[in-house]
């Protein structure tokens, strides 16, 4: 191709012609030589760490992976691959990987201690671990806990099968305290997450969350690009002008940590000022019309126990499903059998009346006039009453929605925040219909219970009470997302928390609870206290450095994995191509093992066999059959020894109906089916008149009262908590709960905040240690690795661009970094992006640079949300120059 048809010009080139060989011959293809022949394999990526559906083609030359690109045959990723996926080759060839099983020889533990790792054989490693576990199991299986992180997200032998087979309830997660984003949709829509229909949405308010571009999600960025071409109006409520705020129709700067006040004011304005909402939706499709007694509970029919509503046409209370009811009273107080009953809607209206935009402005700095305008725009944009016909099916059309994510939900009051977002969407009827806020799982999830309301699922199902509680106190925080912070407190002082045993062993897979949550010193102390810690490790991260045995696992091209095509944190903004696609991603190794690693699932199977809980009824095989719902003829024989590939094959055939099983994925990364447009909305399965969403959260009230009763029965309070404060979070109508650091000295005048970046998100796959990502960020993104402060705020404080600063949280944690001044940040905000400042001595030293945001956070009782268990991500801090001394 490159035949050098043009002669070079310029006098210097004459010299070239004289002294060099004839131009035409050498120039052919020089510099762009044909690449040597390669083998291509398809695989699934997942360098983002979380449930994206990207498949990739890797190129292998002489056994070396020399290239990776997106898979054009994937209907959702469409050949795109984000910056992390493009950097995945280094994930494979990372010299800082754990390359063989390792044993600690230095008994002293601490991040300043060299563990003295020596390589051991797999036999020694597995027999050591198995022996310890066997002894614990004989003594008291509860003394073994397992902690799982996103690094293990695609495994087949899930810990929900492994742990019950072992016999311990202590199933922990390494993460989640900063992203408790599930309660609202679990309770309202019956799903684990929510997703946004950007195929049809026209007005999308984001409060503390990303639709894709901020976090470099390839699918959602693609989906949003299409939406922007269709003219979607984005309103981004965020203390910083992010990538999405930049492209938005409107950026609304807000003081960090105050989103609940903003949302409540919005709710108040729609309810009590605008006064326009989707009445048919509220009357027929929510419990807003249910009659509530003084006790806050549904008033129920004596005969049937069903909740009552008021039929204004005949002035009588009827059961909610009485076919003779011709209308439902949305508002009012009514006398029924000597009781004054109030409609839930009226209770909500009255409860939020005090949250005026003026009140909110004093907390959020968002002008009252803006709140009023946004409320009006939102209601107008929702096209209340309109329908759309998709695939011949008529569905309500509501192209307006409010979405939040961990920026607003990860805080003290964050569970209420999530509920308020749902209430706003309910006011315009935009749940689970085209253009709106959709539950993440598709199907008949809106099935109502006996009370006519969508059955709560997932994290809205309270953990059944028991005493003593499990090691993470899940029973005391029954709607929790995850509670590793509680586990550490219990390990350090079990007597205080009423746990009658001490953990003897902890196994960690795929997570770093030391650096990725809060209070690292507490986590370190707890980990050091547990006598035996096993880590299925990719690198020598902080948790690994405190472990006793490391079992190295393969990198992403070397391993098996499975993932249903569902909604994960990365695939929330969805267009039609995503909404309509269902199926499964699986991968098999496409490159031989580079080191002496072993598939994690095989490790679990091996340990189960050695310890004695693999076979028979109640064994791991049995639990795997149950977890994956494996049916005959694929059901695992309870007494047979399978390996990962065999189990994966059966799961694919049985649960996901992939006829060729694992073999299908030799040449294809994705197995998918396309459902119709109409079937992509959960409204389809439970249309008008067949179910009701909770607009009034009686279930939450009941959960709180049940917890209160259970605690009283055992003469308990939740250790460390002021119980009056806890009960504030268990009300049927969300309320403002203040800020946990409201009354601290004014010198802590800034509010810190964190965000994920397109390169560094949760640090999965050692993103921070990936040299390609580091280099590109250094070259192209001046807003990473720094501490960000508003330009004028810095001027007032006498701080300058490039200053080395110390950030001190009121709670005592500190972080350090280089200051960058910007106009893109709220004056009260201090931005500390991504996660940096790692401390392990055996990981890539480049991970040490940059500030460690998580050190600024606090997990003490009274500062985290007792409903979802998540800690507050917006601590008040003060900042001063290094060497300047404290002000």
């Amino acid at each position: 191709m490159a035949t050098g048809q043009s002669r070079p010009s310029g006098p210097a080139s004459i010299i070239g012609r004289i002294f060099n060989r004839p131009y035409g011959i050498l120039a052919r293809d020089a510099g762009v030589a044909d690449r040597p022949p390669v083998e291509t394999r398809v695989t699934a990526c997942r360098m983002c760490g979380n449930k994206a559906w990207c498949t990739a083609i890797i190129r292998i030359q002489d056994g070396v992976v020399v290239g990776i690109e997106g898979d054009p045959s994937n209907p959702v990723s469409q050949g795109k691959l984000c910056s992390r996926g493009q950097a995945a080759i280094f994930n494979l060839y990372n010299p800082y990987r754990v390359k063989a099983p390792m044993k600690r020889t230095n008994p002293r533990k601490g991040l300043d201690q060299d563990p003295g790792w020596v390589e051991i054989s797999w036999e020694e490693a597995l027999s050591t671990v198995a022996e310890r576990l066997r002894k614990i199991r004989e003594d008291d299986p509860r003394k073994f806990a397992h902690m799982w992180g996103f690094g293990g997200d695609w495994w087949i032998v899930q810990h929900e099968a492994f742990l019950p087979a072992f016999g311990t309830p202590n199933l922990l997660r390494s993460h989640g305290v900063l992203c408790p984003v599930h309660y609202g949709c679990s309770l309202v829509q019956g799903t684990m997450l929510d997703k946004q229909d950007v195929e049809y949405c026209q007005y999308l308010i984001t409060i503390g969350g990303s639709l894709g571009p901020n976090i470099g999600s390839s699918h959602s960025t693609r989906a949003l690009a299409g939406a922007r071409e269709r003219g979607i109006k984005m309103v981004v409520v965020d203390p910083r002008c992010s990538h999405e705020a930049t492209m938005a129709h409107e950026w609304i700067p807000i003081r960090p940590g105050t989103d609940l006040a903003f949302a409540l004011a919005l709710l108040n304005v729609v309810l009590n000022e605008v006064g326009v909402f989707d009445e048919p939706f509220l009357k027929q499709r929510t419990n807003a019309v249910y009659l509530i007694g003084d006790d806050g509970y549904y008033a129920t029919d004596v005969a049937t126990g069903k909740p009552l509503v008021w039929d204004p046409m005949v002035s009588t209370a009827k059961t909610f499903d009485d076919p003779s009811a011709r209308d439902f009273a949305l508002e009012g107080r009514y006398q029924v059998n000597g009781r004054t009953l109030t409609t839930a809607f009226t209770l909500v209206k009255e409860a939020v009346r005090g949250y005026s935009p003026e009140w909110a402005e004093t907390i959020t700095t968002v002008p009252a006039v803006t709140v009023r305008r946004i409320a009006r725009e939102f209601v107008e944009a929702a096209h209340i009453g309109e329908t759309i016909t998709l695939d011949g099916v008529e569905l309500p059309f509501r192209p307006a929605l409010v979405k939040g994510e961990r920026g607003s939900l990860g805080k003290f009051g964050g569970a209420y925040q999530h509920l308020v977002h749902k209430m706003l969407n309910m006011l315009v009827g935009s749940l689970d219909v085209p253009g709106g806020d959709l539950g993440s799982e598709t199907g008949p999830v809106l099935k109502p219970g006996a009370d006519g309301v969508v059955t709560p699922k997932r994290e809205a199902i309270p953990v059944p009470f028991k005493y003593p509680p499990d090691v993470d106190l899940a029973q005391y925080y029954p709607n929790r997302h995850t509670l590793p912070h509680m586990a550490w407190k219990v390990v350090l002082d079990p007597a205080k928390y009423g746990v009658p045993y001490e953990l003897e062993a902890l196994m960690i897979y795929g997570g770093n609870p030391i650096t990725n949550n809060s209070n690292p010193d507490e986590a370190i102390a707890a980990l050091c206290k547990i006598p035996f810690v096993v880590n299925i490790a990719y690198i020598y991260d902080e948790a690994a450095e405190l472990s006793d045995i490391l079992l190295p696992e393969p990198a992403l091209f070397e391993r098996y994995g499975i993932q249903a095509l569902g909604t994960g944190h990365f695939v929330q903004a969805q267009d039609a191509s995503m909404l309509q696609t269902t199926g499964v991603l699986a991968r098999m190794p496409v490159i031989p093992l580079q080191h002496q690693t072993r598939q994690a699932d095989d490790i679990y199977l091996e340990l189960a066999e050695r310890v004695g809980f693999l076979y028979g009824v109640g064994g791991l095989n049995d639990h795997l059959n149950q977890f994956w719902d494996i049916q005959d003829p694929y059901k695992l024989d309870l007494d047979k020894r399978y390996n990962t590939a065999e189990i994966l094959d059966r799961v694919l055939k049985s649960r996901f109906e992939v006829e060729q099983g694992l073999e299908y994925f030799r040449d294809s990364g994705l197995y998918y089916k396309t459902r119709s447009k109409a079937e992509s909305y959960n409204y389809y399965y439970y249309p008008q008149g067949t179910t009701r969403y909770p607009f009034y959260f009686e279930h939450l009230l009941r959960t709180g009262d049940t917890l209160r009763w259970n605690l009283a029965e055992h003469n308990l309070t939740i250790p460390g908590q002021n119980m009056a404060e806890v009960w504030r979070f268990y009300q049927a109508v969300p309320q403002w709960v203040g800020r946990p650091d409201e009354h601290i000295p004014a010198e802590y005048d800034l509010v810190a905040m964190n965000w994920a970046t397109p390169q560094f998100r949760m640090n999965c796959g050692d993103q921070t240690g990936n040299p390609l990502l580091n280099e590109v960020v250094d070259e192209c993104d001046p807003y990473q690795f720094v501490v960000l402060m508003n330009r004028e705020t810095a001027a007032r404080k006498g701080l300058c661009e490039g200053d080395e600063v110390i950030i001190e949280a009121y709670w005592g944690g500190t972080a350090q970094g280089v200051l960058k001044l910007t106009s893109l940040l709220h004056p009260d905000a201090l931005g500390v992006p991504a996660i940096h400042g790692f401390r392990s001595m055996h990981r890539n030293p480049v991970t040490r640079r940059g500030p460690h945001f998580n050190s600024l956070l606090n997990n003490a009782e009274g500062t985290f949300d007792p409903l979802h268990g998540g800690i507050d991500r917006n601590p008040r801090v003060r900042v001063f120059r290094v060497g300047a001394g404290k002000p």
Binding site: A2, S13, V64, V66, I68, Y96, A225
Partner: protein, 204 residues
């Protein structure tokens, strides 16, 4: 046939998938960027926002680098591509100075390893055979991919489809239509380089 690219700045979200894709596809050593995205802010709070500007070799029709090259290492290839013959390049760096888009890089020494002090990975060892010491290098519009009917790596991977690639000599191609409409304009037009890369401004 004249290869051309249009970059729609209304769609670019500054994710740098293109930057990493280029480095990975072409195995460029540390410090060498054939394609990158500039990121900056404009305005004062609260009327401030981010801007992104993907930059690469513009494969100019009137190329300063071609004019100044003393050895003929820089040459015009099929499709209007500007390429570098590293056998002829003597690394005088005249082209680096001449290029108004700062598109060229120079490998002064053997490429350094990505994992400092840890040696080269196999990927690097194989990849750096394409990056000889003492040569100037730059974006080739992924000529090796064009040859087999694929788009440049940056174009293929952009999640927003902000980059469009095609034949500027074909009036019906998307790149031609965008340029003809006046929506897509080159940078530094006053330099007279007649680039083959055009940009649609954010405010269009």
């Amino acid at each position: 046939m004249r290869y051309g690219m249009v970059i729609d700045l209304r769609k670019c979200v500054g994710c740098n998938a293109c930057t990493v894709a280029c480095k990975q596809e072409n195995a460029t050593p540390p410090g060498v960027f054939w394609s990158k995205v500039l990121q900056y802010e404009i305005g004062d709070y609260p009327q401030a926002h981010l801007r992104f500007l993907p930059m690469l070799c513009m494969h100019c029709q009137v190329a300063p680098c071609l004019e100044v090259c003393p050895t003929g290492a820089t040459y015009r290839a099929e499709g209007g591509l500007l390429l570098v013959n590293d056998n002829l390049c003597v690394a005088c760096r005249y082209c680096i100075m001449a290029c108004p888009y700062e598109a060229r890089s120079y490998n002064a020494t053997r490429p350094r390893e990505y994992y400092s002090g840890q040696g080269m990975t196999e990927y690097e060892t194989l990849g750096y055979t394409q990056h000889p010491k003492g040569s100037i290098e730059k974006c080739t519009f992924c000529a090796h991919r064009l040859r087999v009917g694929k788009e440049p790596a940056c174009v293929a991977t952009c999640p927003s489809s902000a980059r469009v690639f095609g034949d500027l000599d074909k009036p019906e191609s998307e790149v031609s239509r965008l340029v003809a409409s006046g929506l897509a304009k080159p940078r530094l037009e006053e330099q007279g380089t007649k680039p083959s890369v055009f940009y649609i401004d954010e405010d269009s």
